[in-house]
């Protein structure tokens, strides 16, 4: 069992004295991100509503912040940071590869069907 902990986060920018301190530090960080998400979700700043790569800029911000949160939950709460790099890679890259593949295929197909509806190939009037 891994008793020795890697106590540095943000690429060593922030180093904690004990594992307990690191846990509280990560909690504060995750709470800040959630708070930012909620505030952006309520106010929806007009400037972030521009289209970026087929989606609103704000939605991209939400997705990136979610992945950041997922990273810290997996690395510090599920202590992947303290596991062997090989185990970490097996877990993370399997998921990343399969999930991005599935997402791409289904979203692409959904967009296509939407275009079929919109271009009037199939009518969808009341």
């Amino acid at each position: 069992m891994a008793h020795e902990h890697n106590l540095a986060i943000f690429q060593g920018l922030l180093k904690f004295k004990s594992n307990t301190q690191k846990i509280w530090g990560v909690l504060i960080f995750l709470s800040i991100i959630t708070a930012v998400e909620v505030v952006l979700g309520i106010y929806k700043p007009e400037i972030l509503m521009i289209q970026v790569l087929g989606m609103k800029g704000l939605n991209w911000i939400f997705i990136i912040l979610t992945i950041v949160k997922a990273y810290y939950i997996a690395w510090d709460f599920m202590h992947l940071r303290d596991e062997k790099p090989a185990l970490r890679r097996v877990i993370v890259w399997t998921g990343v590869f399969l999930i991005s593949y599935l997402m791409f295929i289904l979203l692409q197909e959904g967009g296509y069907i939407e275009s079929v509806f919109r271009n009037g190939f199939v009518t969808n009037s009341f």
Binding site: S31, A70, M78, L87, G110
Partner: protein, 332 residues
């Protein structure tokens, strides 16, 4: 010590199970296998949700208008309650890591307390989820479903702080209830082998009469405008739509109808949050079992609290999934 199977007599032997691949014990490795496959299951659900959403991108319900309630408070507070739920779940994740950390120091009383707090956090979360479901099923304003399966909602323009905004109006507030056209069918007063489910509170005709009598009420369709708002119809168009296409009055959401928009939105909401809620529930049950084992001193005798670590992995995973559900259901 002899009563538990912490040691197998294979330690140090390269073959025969004595070797720990990637320096992870058997139990931990299997938990990771499970977590990776479960992550793929959840991503399958969320990808299917994304598929349906992209398919109906022009008419998808706006989450901010659907989930606006907070217990014990009146008024519209989008996001607040679900943010609270997220915070509770992250908090219970923290107490779980603290329990694991205390386990590394073989501190039994600390592990007990942190496990207890984790369980409480989980129960609060599941309770909130049940409340959220209840509010969603009950609905708020009600709407009229058209023959084509679309939803027509009602509202009127009001001036708030000098700005003209579209405020929703509940069906019950303007509908003129006519005399009931017929009594409910019951097996004791009609055909005994025929049953009838509860009929909607109002008929479309009553809604139409109410609409005609209230000149300020307008119909809002599901279609999103360029600015991301729902389209509001003109007065004549409103009456025409209800008269020509109205099929039934719906109030709340279930697997077949949904007053907020596409029924598939409700289906995915029930399925994905339900599946997640079931994970939280089973997490609580496993946590309780481990909690009692901690109290009984099972892990103390083993000189290893690895079981707390393994159930902790599962608990954090549930938190991890919620982070994604939160984003894709409530934020995006």
């Amino acid at each position: 010590m002899d009563t538990t199977v912490a040691t197998t007599g294979k330690e140090g032997k390269l073959w025969g199970g004595g070797n720990e691949p990637l320096r992870a014990s058997y139990g931990k490795m299997m938990m990771w296998f499970f977590i990776v496959s479960d992550a793929l299951t959840f991503s399958g659900f969320l990808a299917a949700y994304g598929f349906s959403r992209f398919k109906f991108i022009e008419s998808w319900p706006i989450a901010d208008e659907v989930f606006t309630h907070v217990p014990f408070f009146h008024g519209s507070y989008p996001m607040i309650y679900v943010a609270f739920m997220t915070f509770i779940l992250i908090m219970s994740s923290v107490t779980m890591v603290l329990a694991v950390d205390a386990g590394h120091h073989l501190n039994k009383s600390k592990v007990t307390w942190y496990m207890f707090l984790t369980i409480i956090g989980g129960i609060i979360f599941v309770g909130s989820q049940a409340w959220e479901w209840n509010t969603f099923i009950k609905g708020e304003f009600g709407a009229v479903q058209t023959k084509g399966g679309n939803i027509l909602q009602f509202g009127k323009y009001t001036t708030v702080d000098g700005k003209e905004t579209f405020q929703r109006v509940a069906v019950a507030d303007f509908t003129i209830a006519a005399k009931t056209e017929r009594v409910d069918h019951e097996s004791k007063n009609g055909l005994w082998f025929v049953t009838e489910s509860t009929r909607p509170e109002y008929s479309v005709n009553e809604v139409l009469e109410g609409l005609k009598a209230n000149p300020e009420v307008l119909v809002r369709t599901q279609i999103l405008t360029e600015e991301g708002h729902k389209t509001v119809l003109s007065r004549e168009e409103s009456i025409k739509q209800i008269a020509d296409n109205g099929k039934q009055v719906v109030h709340g959401a279930n697997l077949k109808v949904n007053e907020y928009g596409a029924p598939i939105f409700a289906d995915f909401f029930f399925f994905i949050t339900g599946f997640h809620g079931f994970h939280v529930f089973s997490g609580i049950v496993i946590n309780i079992i481990v909690f009692f084992n901690v109290i009984l001193g099972t892990y103390e005798k083993r000189r290893s609290y690895e079981m707390v670590e393994k159930v902790g992995l599962y608990w954090h995973f549930v938190d991890l999934v919620w982070v994604f559900v939160f984003t894709f259901f409530y934020l995006v």
